[in-house]
Structures are given as structure tokens and as C-alpha cells.
Symmetry: C2
Subunit: 188 residues, 2 copies
């Protein structure tokens, strides 16, 4: 079976065997148990992570100790504190594991090296980032929609897989609705 | 004075005179009056636009005819229906001018051509998109914050220029709060 990284990259760009072996040599791996932290507020963030197995959540805790979920990540998704990573500032969010996880790690240094050396890799990340941008715009429109039923339906439409694997309490924190509202919506 | 496109690109990548002249030859220009549409729902979207002068808004109108503002764009910002543009689907939003505008137009075809020919340009758009991604994540955290005062303060902190140029009604539609709430917040 092809390496999951190769499958992931080849959804956007073709790679020769030699190129793929070279690209792969710039990644390391990490395994984390359910509830372990990948990133904690205040950390310096040198890496981004591709999920090979498992599920994670990135969240900000406000002054009332309430969790606001910024992002989930399942297999084939990238996750990190992107603000801290791109701007080389301290992490302002936490990321921990909802399930046991296997991750591929790419450091900023190796990413820039690969992007400079292999044109296809630069294009891969450019297109991946464009896709992520559009997904966030869609989520903003969901959040601006004041009708919780429409908000929930829109979420289901965009995230069928997540709904089956993520506890309801976390989906409520992602949608910005109360746990009670979510229960009402998901069992109409 | 240097061309605004050159100033814009050189914030991220250096370009020789020859390279810049070549890059510029792939752009065209457009002028629009206040209230004119740049993109309308249902359009096919072939281009993205860099604002040279003026201010625009991108918005979705819901079934109750309520405007939800997805994005503003001032000088030095890019705007289009990114979903329609990247996925080559029909526009689902409208974009019109809050002020008279001058725009630089880049077609998808010319963008891909430039990204394939000039490594620096591919890197420019990759990094630009990363920056945009982080800004949208920040906005999502603002929208998840239930305290309208914190939401407004966060907006002010991130968008000092916009506040001076965009009518309050539109800022309320961007923040997902009522016009009355916004007035109360901005004149405490």
C-alpha cells in the first residue's frame, strides 16, 4: 500500500519515487495517547503536523475558562497553532488528542527547504492553503448565521466524518452553541 | 514612486526590474464606482483582484435578505469569491464597492503561469495565503466569543483602518451583532 503521505500529496501533485523518498526524509513521526497535548499555550511552535491516524482539537480557553474550538483534525488534515508557526510567536491555543494519534511532523525549516527545492511541493502547500482559506470562510458564514438549526445543518453537510467521531460537547464548542441547543438540534 | 504592485510583492519576495515588468504584464486594471458590483451571485469567477485604491465588501445574503459580511478589502488586500475562484464553481456571494475603486486583475490562468515560471511568485502566494488563513482563524475566535464588547475590541485591534472608513452598519454585519449593540459598544 502506498505511504499515506504519498497518497496525500498526490491528490494535488504528481511525484516520482525518488522525489517522494526525498520528501519523506524531511518528516519525522510522533505517537500520542488520547488526552495528551501536542501544543500548549506559551509553547514555541516549530512544526506543523499531518494526521495519519486519530483525531485532535485545537482550542482557545477564554477568561471564563470556556473552550472555543478553532479546529478539529482527522486523518489527512494538517494541524498546528498556525499563527504561532507562521509568525514565530508563542502559542495562544492548546492542541490535544481526542483519540490516540499518529502524526507526521514537518518543521518550518524543512518545509521551506522542500518548497525551495521542489516546485511541486511549493504548489502543493499553496493550493492546500487556498483550500483551507475557503473552508474557513465557509465556517465564518456558518457562525454569522444566527439560526442554530441552519448552523448545525451546515456543519453536518461539511463535516460528516467528524460528527461520528467527536463528542457532542465539542461540536457545540465548535459551533458556538450550548450543549443543550445542540442536543435539541441533533434530535429534532 | 514604485508601482503599488511592486511594493506589495516586495513585502514578501525580492524581484528584479525585469521580473517585475514581466509579472506586471500579466495583470490588467479596472475602475469601479461606489456601489458598483465586482462579483454577483451566480457569476463564473475567473479572477482575483488586488485593491490599489478604495474599499469593497464581500457578503452573503441569507433567505431573510440579511447581509452577512465575509470580507472587507482596502488598499493592498486581495479580494474575490475565493470559493468560486479556486473550485471553479458559480459565485455564492456578492462583492461591491463601498468607495470608488481601482483594482489590479489577475486571472487564474495567469496566476498559475506566473507561479510555474517564477518560484518567488509561487512562494509569495503561498505565504500570502498562510497569512490570510491565520487572519480568518483569528476572526473565528472573535465570532465564538459571546461577549460583544470583547468581540468589538478585538475587531478594532485587528482592523484600525477599516473602522475609520466603513459605515457602522457594515461593521455590525461583519461582527454578527445588531447595529444598536454596536453603537452602544463604540460609544461606551
Amino acid at each position: 500500500m502506498e505511504h499515506p503521505l504519498r497518497q496525500h500529496l498526490e491528490k494535488i501533485i504528481p511525484l516520482t519515487d525518488t522525489e517522494f523518498t526525498y520528501v519523506l526524509s524531511h518528516f519525522t513521526t510522533k505517537k500520542l495517547r488520547k488526552h495528551q497535548f501536542l501544543v500548549q499555550e506559551g509553547d514555541t511552535v516549530f512544526n506543523e503536523y499531518l494526521v495519519i491516524k486519530g483525531c485532535l482539537k485545537a482550542y482557545h480557553t477564554d477568561s471564563d475558562d470556556k473552550e472555543h474550538i478553532l479546529q478539529f483534525a482527522l486523518e489527512d488534515w494538517w494541524i498546528t497553532d498556525f499563527q504561532a508557526y507562521f509568525n514565530q510567536t508563542k502559542a495562544t491555543i492548546n492542541i490535544d488528542c481526542i483519540e490516540d494519534c499518529e502524526l507526521l511532523i514537518l518543521s518550518m525549516e524543512n518545509k521551506e527547504k522542500l518548497c525551495n527545492e521542489i516546485h511541486g511541493i511549493a504548489n502543493f502547500f499553496r493550493k492546500k492553503s487556498n483550500g483551507g482559506y475557503v473552508a474557513l470562510q465557509q465556517r465564518i458564514l456558518l457562525l454569522l448565521n444566527k439560526n442554530p438549526q441552519d448552523r448545525y445543518n451546515g456543519f453536518i453537510r461539511l463535516n460528516r466524518l467528524l460528527v461520528q467521531r467527536v463528542p457532542k460537547t465539542l461540536i457545540a464548542a465548535y459551533l458556538g452553541v450550548s450543549r443543550e441547543t445542540l442536543s435539541r438540534l441533533s434530535h429534532p
